[in-house]
């Protein structure tokens, strides 16, 4: 059997992966309105209203002030910490006209050019970023 017998033990392991925010139930609850806000940007009329006045549009959603600020800052790591999910947040960076590659690179501490060069060279090796506690 592969299934976990203990949900807490199952979840605890996710916190051991360096530089990774797994979209657990805790994050799904925390980010519900943030993600639904992002989802609303699928509609062109909502994108226009958001672009015209970001603060006013954000205030229509029962999001925390931290979440709203992180959206305004386009701080995607912060948004992940506040319960955002990358497939929902994609609606925000798509509204900004950014590709996945451009947006994803902003979370890595690298410039877009450096990130793109890393990908063209074969991507980031899993060596050393599998586990925090085991340092492997």
């Amino acid at each position: 059997m592969t299934g976990p017998r203990d949900v807490e033990a199952y979840l605890a392991e996710f916190e051991d992966i360096p530089g990774t925010r797994v979209f657990t139930a805790r994050r799904a609850r925390q980010g519900y309105h943030l993600n639904q806000f992002a989802m609303s940007l699928m509609k062109p009329e909502n994108r226009e209203r958001f672009k015209a006045d970001e603060q006013a549009y954000l205030d229509e959603w029962p999001m925390s002030e931290e979440q709203k600020q992180a959206v305004r800052d386009r701080d995607y790591n912060r948004l992940l910490d506040l319960g955002g999910n990358i497939y929902f947040l994609a609606k925000v960076f798509s509204s900004d006209g950014l590709s996945f590659l451009q947006a994803v690179s902003t979370m890595t501490g690298m410039s877009v050019e450096e990130y793109q060069a890393m990908m063209l060279a074969g991507g980031r090796s899993p060596e050393g970023v599998r586990s925090k506690k085991e340092e492997r």
Binding site: G3, G19, T20, Q36, A90, G123, S125
Partner: protein
């Protein structure tokens, strides 16, 4: 009788849909990715066009938002329109469903104790339409009917690899029991290694990916036992999509042979994997359920 004739595993990378739609497939960055599908395009056109594809994919916050999150959902509608993912819908044909077989499979799976969500109306995003473009190229209409089978691999926990494999086996039992004479393929899409979020974004693990491809062919069932944490550690946060390939593999039965295989890095943020499998011994275990008349299940409530 309907039969499962082959399985395909492949990534469903959105940028390939973009390159395809904008006629940029010959550009150096995209050409190696598209070239890897030419064998399969020829094979499907000349030798192995199925009547129906059961296409296993995940929705990427297009048809489903956070309001409803089905673990396994099956599309039983007549047709499915391409979703607008923010840049307008992809200019590809409408996806024609096969409600008779889809409803038959849904009923069979529920009696097999899989709690399927039945979808009659939804739009389908790149997860479903990019593989169709890669396999069939530019066409006026898709040459097959498609039964969408959507899996939650976004909100945790996704189903286990073992559960996905078992679902594939149950799909095989359902197809075998459908009275019409139909060739059916099962495609498992998504993956391979990629991480689209956080400071570890850009993770690619070709060794692990290729070992996964190795074990899709043959008769080993080792892939069933890979836990979520291994996918996450070894293949990035979005590598978990590979559990969807196991629905395809489970549906092909006891033993398979690889007809074609292609692996390419990178395409945008991800590794591209693609494999064509045929069943060698398509037998699957009988339903271990009460409705399937399993004696063990009967004994449990006796």
């Amino acid at each position: 009788m309907a039969r499962i004739t082959a399985g395909i595993g492949c990534s469903h990378i959105p940028v390939l849909g973009f390159a395809f739609d904008h006629r940029r497939t010959e550009e150096p960055i995209f050409k190696p990715a598209f070239d890897g599908f030419s064998w399969t395009r020829d094979w499907l056109r000349e030798k192995a066009t199925p009547d129906i594809v059961i296409l296993v994919y995940n929705d990427h916050a297009s048809a489903f938002d956070m309001k409803v999150i089905p673990t396994f959902a099956i599309g039983c509608g007549e047709r499915f329109l391409p979703a607008d993912e923010g840049f307008g819908p992809r200019p590809v044909p409408t996806v024609e469903g096969h409600p008779d077989l889809a409803w038959h499979i849904a009923q069979s799976l529920i009696l097999d104790e899989f709690d399927m969500t039945i979808i009659n109306e939804m739009e389908v995003d790149h997860g479903l339409t990019v593989p169709l473009s890669m396999m069939f190229g530019a066409v006026e209409r898709w040459p097959v009917k498609v039964i969408p089978l959507a899996v939650n691999v976004v909100t945790y926990p996704p189903p286990s690899g073992n559960r996905c494999w078992a679902l594939g086996e149950a799909i095989a039992r359902a197809v075998e029991n459908f009275p019409e004479d139909l060739d059916v393929q099962v495609w498992g899409t998504g993956g391979m290694s990629h991480q689209l979020q956080g400071p570890r974004a850009g993770l690619i693990n070709p060794e692990w990916d290729n070992r996964f491809l190795d074990r899709l062919a043959g008769d080993t069932q080792e892939l069933r036992t890979i836990p979520h944490i291994e996918y996450l550690r070894e293949t990035g946060s979005e590598g978990i999509e590979m559990v969807m390939w196991l629905i395809m593999r489970g549906a092909l039965g006891r033993s398979t042979r690889a007809l074609h295989r292609h692996y390419h890095v990178p395409v945008s943020n991800t590794a591209l994997g693609h494999i064509v499998l045929e069943p060698v011994d398509g037998s699957v275990p009988p339903s271990a359920t009460l409705e399937g008349n399993d004696p063990t299940a009967q004994a449990l409530i006796a």
